[in-house]
């Protein structure tokens, strides 16, 4: 079994009962199934995390990949979000008090083993203010391709 420090964590962010907000969670669940039995150095998880919880989740991993939703003009469009425009990602900016950069810096300052690399993939969404377990059609249609896109980028196939 590989140690955590040699592993990549792929973490889906979002609320599974808040319509399109669930994109990150659903995509990572798909990825988890796609990777089953293959890439043992990749671990998948998800949740609506906030505050210092980010620190609890990322510490110890070599690399962390977040999957989140983002406001945009083209629901269903997906891409890697450069870290310098992180502030547009829904779940990485204001989780109660501490965001990703703050958590990373704080972790390093107190001597935690922080990931060497962080990446964020996002999909543009339409409805994330209404409770429900249905996705808007444009978002739903692109879920599978989004999962494949991340798999290709992170595992090479």
């Amino acid at each position: 079994m590989l140690l955590k420090e040699n592993k990549t964590l792929i973490f889906g962010l979002g609320n599974p009962i808040l319509s399109d907000d669930s994109v990150g969670v659903l995509v990572v669940e798909k990825l988890d199934k796609m990777l089953e039995g293959e890439h043992l150095n990749v671990q998948c998880d998800n949740g609506s995390i906030g505050g210092l919880k980010i620190l609890d989740i990322i510490k110890g991993y070599k690399k962390v990949v977040f999957v989140d939703s983002i406001e945009g003009k083209t629901p269903g469009k997906f891409y890697e979000l450069p870290l310098d425009v992180l502030s547009f990602s829904f779940h990485m900016t204001s989780p109660h008090s501490i965001n990703l950069f703050t958590a990373l810096n704080l972790g390093r300052q107190i001597g935690y083993d922080m990931p060497e690399e962080i990446k964020i993939y996002v999909m543009e969404v339409k409805n994330n203010r209404e409770f429900g377990d249905q996705l808007t059609p444009e978002v739903r249609r692109n879920l599978e391709n989004f999962a494949k896109f991340i798999k290709e980028r992170e595992t090479g196939g």
């Binding site: 609320n15 599974p16 009962i17 808040l18 949740g47 609506s48 995390i49 906030g50 505050g51 210092l52 919880k53 620190l55 609890d56 989740i57 502030s87 829904f90 779940h91 900016t93 204001s94 989780p95 109660h96 008090s97 501490i98 965001n99 950069f101 703050t102 810096n105 704080l106 300052q109 107190i110 001597g111 203010r129 209404e130 409770f131 429900g132 377990d133």
Partner: protein
């Protein structure tokens, strides 16, 4: 020239909020509103779902206080099924929930509220008013202790909750699993560390805040952070503070008990006022009626959470927390305490109570008993359940109705932040009126207005201290024609 100042957090987690301050022609504050944009449709989402799923569904209502909803929900489902958990089941629910109280309160104290505002300073540059600024002041070793002890609280939650962040532990009739002797020993050790750390936190309040005359004056000032309101909170049979089981006690601005009722009777005593400019309702005392955003004897406005809980209770049941409770009222001039910034001190005292109570529960021989759930008896099914508990951010009520097949038909929640919502609006307005004169304001003043609502630790305060070096808050200034004439951004 009338102007509108808008303090608008631009990011969100679970809903978002903004402050609008309206100036009159002289540039003084005419009015102020604390407006919340809520997420929609939770009630509809729940209707038709099996009622036993509710304790798991409600944890998704909010990523900040999932345990509070989880516990309130399982209590309400106990009522629907007419089942009472065994003693150990109740104690284990309380144990997990106390750990959540600690996680939530400690994060607020050190990362969000009093530490950045008072240890770093209310008028310090925004880029310093955060957890790094706190560490810079108190030292790295203390920073490590903060993170370590908060992590202990999270570990206890995870050991019991079964799932990080969103617990799947509490179920109708009890909890899903017992704990082993080994678990008990591990939790006890972490609890003992937390007691020491919470005693240290009380000392931090003393050293950095109470011994600083300037800060103590701000806390005690009746001009900015002070409202004579009613208070509500849960108490046990001896009127000691309770967070899980008890009756709601309400005291008036003189500290006199005016109501004491079972959570099941909440509709007889609490009503909710609606304003067209916000999605969140304002709970108020039915007997007094809604008189607007005013304090005083006649007002129906009540405040809740740590300030309210200490004001309504006649003590705390653990020894060190009781000592801290006595000192709190001694320093602040007796009961009730109306100073809004005292919320922070009260929060630290509640942390100590929670840590001591965790140790007590771990030393209770019954805590490792295997009987942790009573299976509901179909003959006892009632179809309706109401629970009232104390969440870190205030009183919390869940009310469910289900049909004969156990499917949800009605849902009513009065959430913790709502109990303080009227108070928050009054506090923001009073601070704005006191601090903005002749149209003049700066970052320090705007932060001091934010401090008025941050003391309550509302769930949507998320944006106020995020990402050092960026701009979580915007202030838009409009002229009387609604034209944007100025934008102030946090540096």
């Amino acid at each position: 020239m009338a102007k509108e100042i808008r303090i608008d957090p631009v990011t969100r987690l679970e809903g978002h909020a903004k402050i609008d301050v309206f100036l009159d022609n002289n540039g003084d504050v005419e009015d102020a509103y604390f407006q919340i944009v809520e997420l929609r449709g939770f009630e509809e989402f729940c209707k038709g779902r099996p009622v036993e799923e509710m304790p798991r569904i409600v944890t998704r209502l909010c990523g900040v206080c999932p345990w509070a909803h989880h516990i309130a929900s399982s209590k309400a489902t106990d009522g629907v099924y007419g089942v009472k958990p065994p003693s150990t089941g109740l104690k284990l629910r309380e144990l997990g929930y106390l750990a959540h109280f600690l996680e939530s309160h400690l994060e607020h104290i050190y990362a969000l509220g009093p530490a950045p505002d008072f240890i770093v300073g209310p008028d310090a540059p925004p880029e310093k008013r955060n957890v790094f600024g706190v560490i810079e002041k108190v030292g790295l070793d203390i920073g490590k202790r903060v993170i370590q002890n908060r992590a202990y609280a999270v570990k206890i939650e995870d050991m019991l909750g079964g799932k990080s962040t969103h617990p799947v532990y509490s179920i109708p009739g009890g909890v899903s699993h017992s704990i082993t002797e080994e678990d008990r020993g591990e939790i006890l050790k972490m609890g003992e560390s937390l007691v020491n750390f919470c005693l240290f936190t009380i000392d931090v309040v003393d050293k950095f805040i109470l011994k600083n005359k300037k800060f103590l004056d701000i806390i005690l000032s009746k001009d900015i952070y002070y409202h004579r309101t009613n208070y509500i909170g849960l108490v046990d049979d001896e009127n000691k503070m309770a967070i899980y089981e008890g009756k709601f006690r309400v005291v008036n601005p003189e500290g006199k008990e005016i109501l004491k009722f079972k959570p099941e009777d909440y509709l007889k005593h609490i009503a909710e006022h609606v304003e067209p400019w916000t999605y969140l309702k304002f709970p108020y005392l039915k007997d007094k009626g809604w008189k607007g955003f005013v304090d005083g004897e006649e007002s129906g406005v009540m405040r809740s959470a740590p300030l309210g809980r200490l004001n309504v209770s006649e003590g705390l049941k653990t020894p060190r927390a009781q000592e801290a409770y006595e000192r709190y009222f001694e320093v602040l001039g007796g009961k009730p305490v109306h100073n809004t910034l005292a919320f922070h001190w009260a929060r630290a005292i509640e942390c100590l109570y929670a840590a001591e109570r965790i140790v007590e529960l771990c030393n209770d021989p019954e805590i490792t008993d295997k009987k942790v759930r009573n299976i509901p008896d179909p003959g006892e099914y009632r179809g309706e359940g109401i629970s009232g508990i104390e969440a870190p951010r205030g009183s919390l009520i869940h009310h469910y109705k289900a049909d004969k097949n156990g499917l949800m038909t009605e849902l009513n929640l009065i959430v913790a932040t709502a109990f303080n919502y009227a108070g928050m609006n009054m506090s923001v307005k009073k601070a704005a009126k006191a601090l903005i004169k002749k149209g003049k304001y700066d970052q320090g003043i705007l932060n001091m207005i934010e401090m008025a609502f941050r003391a309550y630790d509302p769930c949507f305060s998320c944006a106020t201290h995020s990402l050092p070096g960026t701009m979580p808050i915007m202030v838009n200034i409009f002229n009387e024609k609604g034209k944007l004439v100025d934008v102030i951004k946090r540096k």
